[in-house]
């Protein structure tokens, strides 16, 4: 029992950590450096965090090996093991919701501010644009952005409130995210979102697309009004990444390692880029130190990827009510996410199904069964944990503050969320 597991994980380590993850992480790290054009000296420095990832990767995958073979289900020990990595966490477990409460004071007017940006006199278009800004979303992105902004401000010796531009970025982040959701729902033909009918379901596809475009233009105006061209560039990159990520979902790769790399890159573009670049944007406004920008960016990138990996796991493990959308939605859309890609290493039968995007009759059910039989879900969760550890390592480089510790704790919440 242990032997195949061992072989499997070794193969996985060589196949995925060795090529896929490292290659995926490097270009991404490098790209962040190249996108921070005003700091050409950064190119050399940016390989640093990248190089640091590699050894820690190995250490951590070994530690995973240890407990996953002995106690496959207990994932808690590694959370405990995380604590020494970061600077002392002062929180007790009783205050689990801390990051959210801590962020709340900067987000009380979030949705009102967004609605002001979307102001158009009278028309129906207004109600379409406001539809998702009803306060029922998790607003996880703005939470991360304001916590990061405060942590960075303390790190940079700037006390007091958020800068107006930082507050605006928190809002813009949520707007860009929502605009992309609206278009995604049309692309995927989704009829439900956040526990209610999707925009396209209520008003039709034509109007939904226009609403998405309008939200994007309003976000872009608010972004320009911050008046910092570097910030504009950083967040415009996100918009391009979102589309490119969506394009990446159209294709599947024949080769398994390619496929994993493709998946992580897509995940970065579709989910992590927004968080990473928003964190970077708030750092640019308070600090001129490219290393600080990089910390912010890396935290956002790693949390972002972890967030999406957990999302992909939940697609298999969560019931329809909990996620607000039907489970196995990704399979039904023909998408092979982490759990399937891992399962494919144990069950090569999945390969053909992945290539035909689960389009034959019964594919979705069969793939689902294989995934549940495999340890694809655990492997993906573990990978998410790895990204969170890197996020923690990065943000721990900042001066201690309640907000920094909240960002550390937030990674646990990302991992443990069930919806």
């Amino acid at each position: 029992m242990a032997a195949p597991g061992w072989r499997h994980i070794t193969r996985w380590r060589r196949g995925c950590w060795g090529t896929a993850v490292s290659e995926t992480l490097w270009p991404v790290t490098g790209r962040s450096a190249s996108s921070s054009a005003p700091f050409p000296g950064r190119v050399g420095g940016s390989s640093e965090p990248g190089n640091e990832v590699k050894p820690s990767t190995q250490i951590l995958s070994k530690s995973h090996l240890g407990f996953s073979l002995i106690r496959p289900c207990s994932r808690l020990p590694s959370v405990a093991a995380l604590q020494p990595l970061c600077c002392r966490s002062t929180h007790s477990d009783a205050k689990l919701e801390d990051p959210f409460t801590l962020a709340q004071k900067d987000l009380t007017t979030l949705y009102d501010d967004i609605k002001k940006e979307l102001f158009i006199s009278r028309t129906e278009l207004k109600s379409l644009c406001d539809y998702y800004f009803d306060g029922r979303g998790k607003a996880i992105r703005p939470i991360i952005v304001v916590l990061m902004a405060r942590a960075l401000n303390i790190h940079s010796d700037r006390s007091g409130d958020l800068l107006p531009g930082q507050k605006a970025i928190a809002m813009i982040t949520e707007m860009i995210h929502t605009a992309s959701l609206v278009h995604d729902d049309v692309i995927d033909g989704s009829d439900a979102r956040r526990g209610k009918r999707s925009l396209n379901e209520v008003w039709g596809e034509k109007k939904a697309i226009l609403a998405g475009d309008f939200i994007l233009s309003a976000a872009s105006m608010a972004l320009a009004r911050i008046g910092d061209i570097t910030v504009v560039k950083v967040l415009s990159q996100v918009i391009e990444d979102l589309v490119r990520g969506e394009f990446m979902q159209l294709g599947s790769k024949e080769n398994e390692n390619e496929r994993f790399k493709h998946y992580l890159e897509k995940t970065f573009k579709k989910t992590a880029s927004l968080i990473a670049n928003s964190c970077k944007a708030v750092s640019i406004l308070v600090s001129s130190d490219p290393e600080v920008h990089e910390i912010a960016y890396q935290y956002g990138k790693n949390v972002g990827i972890a967030f999406q990996l957990v999302d992909d796991v939940l697609d298999f493990t969560s019931g329809a009510q909990q996620l607000g959308k039907p489970s196995a939605a990704d399979l039904k859309l023909g998408l092979a996410t982490g759990p399937v890609l891992f399962a494919c290493q144990q069950f090569p039968e999945l390969h053909a199904m992945i290539m035909r995007r689960f389009s034959s009759k019964g594919d979705v059910d069969r793939a689902w069964q294989y995934v549940l039989k495999s340890d694809g879900v655990q492997q993906t969760s573990f990978l998410a944990r790895r990204y969170c550890q890197e996020a923690i390592r990065q943000v721990s480089l900042l001066r201690p503050s309640p907000e920094r510790d909240a960002l550390i704790r937030l990674t646990e919440l990302v991992l443990s969320r069930d919806k």
């Binding site: 049309v186 034509k206 105006m221 009004r225 504009v232 918009i239």
Partner: protein, 384 residues
């Protein structure tokens, strides 16, 4: 009761037009004088080829789309027509907005403030950032052409073919439109001017609102009555004027020309677009074109004026008279009705008004070849 029957009829009539929708406001004018002034103007700005659009067209993403679009051949999805238009219409002023931005940039020339501050060399009398802007404007315009091709899946009928094809076409339309818009966003950021980013972003918002009003506000207020002339003007400015007006203004901003020049450029762009929109609306009403089956939008300028002039009741009556026994609208008959009244001449007057306003604005720029080209273009919108 008549109103509801009629509105049902009209709603049915507006959708089939989808397939033959004109591609862009600048592509429908067939007049040779127009083509002449445009091709003359293109020579003035040096190379008219849009590099950014070229980069987009050659990207992996769009070649991917192009490959997928082939699957749509034989289906009814409008994206196919839009895509076809990129090929067939490319000669026909598809990149008109970009050209006008370039001409205005050249007509305004270098500014005293810009020479040191910009640190960029002019090529054929135009700053590189202004050329980039011209391309961005085209990207935005094309993005909306593509997004307008998204169809409402619930309204499909059997004649539209397979739902699966239409879903796929929608997917491609959303993605490629988004791709163009995203490239416009990054291109805008590279212009290094947040004022310009804000201005052009607001123009994107204007276009969205315009398209929304144009297509749906009439449905809200009851399609049968349409909108009055005042709100119609407001809507066509948003859809057809705002992007060009604000782009012209932005071209002045990029070269650090003063407020006065920015305003004049804005006015030129605004009035030229409106003049051109009226010109294309007027085409079926002034052209002899016997034998050809006519269709026109019931929101075309002459109809909007006509409706306002004759009043609601007579308009309803006329609509009913133009409706055949098989519940089809006889466009030739309706055309004759509209032509018998003052709607056409009112629209013509407005067209000349905008042409004059555009000429007035451009007169303030120093005399040059570029300025003459802009004058000729402004003249051409009144020719039929």
């Amino acid at each position: 009761m008549f109103a509801s029957a009629c509105s049902k009829l009209l709603r049915r009539l507006t959708f089939p037009i989808r397939g033959q929708r004109t591609l862009s406001l600048f592509s429908s004018t067939g007049s040779s004088s127009w083509s002449k002034v445009v091709s003359d103007a293109e020579k003035i700005v040096g190379y008219p080829t849009s590099f950014m659009s070229l980069r987009c067209l050659l990207s992996d993403e769009l070649s991917n789309v192009a490959m997928h679009i082939r699957k749509l051949v034989g289906t009814q999805h409008p994206l196919l027509n839009t895509a076809r238009g990129f090929v067939y219409d490319s000669k026909n002023n598809l990149q008109m907005r970009g050209l006008i931005v370039l001409l205005l940039s050249k007509a305004a020339g270098p500014s005293h403030a810009a020479d040191d501050a910009l640190g960029q060399d002019m090529v054929s009398g135009i700053y590189p950032s202004q050329r980039n802007l011209a391309e961005i404007v085209e990207l935005i315009n094309t993005a909306f052409l593509v997004h307008r091709g998204v169809v409402n899946l619930k309204e499909l009928t059997v004649s539209d073919g397979l739902l699966k094809d239409m879903e796929f076409g929608n997917k491609m339309a959303v993605l490629s439109g988004d791709f163009l818009l995203a490239n416009a966003c990054t291109g805008l950021a590279q212009l290094n001017n947040t004022e310009v980013v804000e201005l052009i972003s607001s123009a994107i918002g204007d276009v969205v609102q315009g398209i929304y009003y144009e297509n749906y506000s009439s449905a809200e207020d009851g399609l049968i009555d349409g909108v009055d002339v005042a709100s119609w003007k407001e809507h066509i400015f948003l859809t057809h004027g705002a992007l060009l007006a604000k782009s012209c203004e932005a071209a002045m901003l990029l070269a650090k020309h003063d407020k006065q020049a920015q305003m004049l450029a804005y006015l030129y762009g605004k009035h030229l677009s409106l003049g051109h929109k009226l010109n294309s609306d007027l085409q079926p009403f002034v052209k002899g074109g016997m034998g050809q089956p006519v269709t026109f939008s019931l929101n075309a300028a002459p109809v909007v004026f006509h409706r306002q002039l004759v009043g609601k009741d007579r308009w309803h009556q006329q609509l009913q008279q133009a409706t055949t026994l098989s519940n089809q609208l006889d466009y030739s008959k309706l055309l004759a009705t509209v032509k018998s009244e003052k709607g056409v001449s009112s629209a013509l007057d407005l067209c000349c008004f905008h042409s004059n306003k555009a000429l007035e604005a451009i007169k303030a720029f120093p005399s040059s070849k570029a300025r003459s080209a802009l004058e000729n273009i402004a003249f051409a919108v009144t020719k039929f």
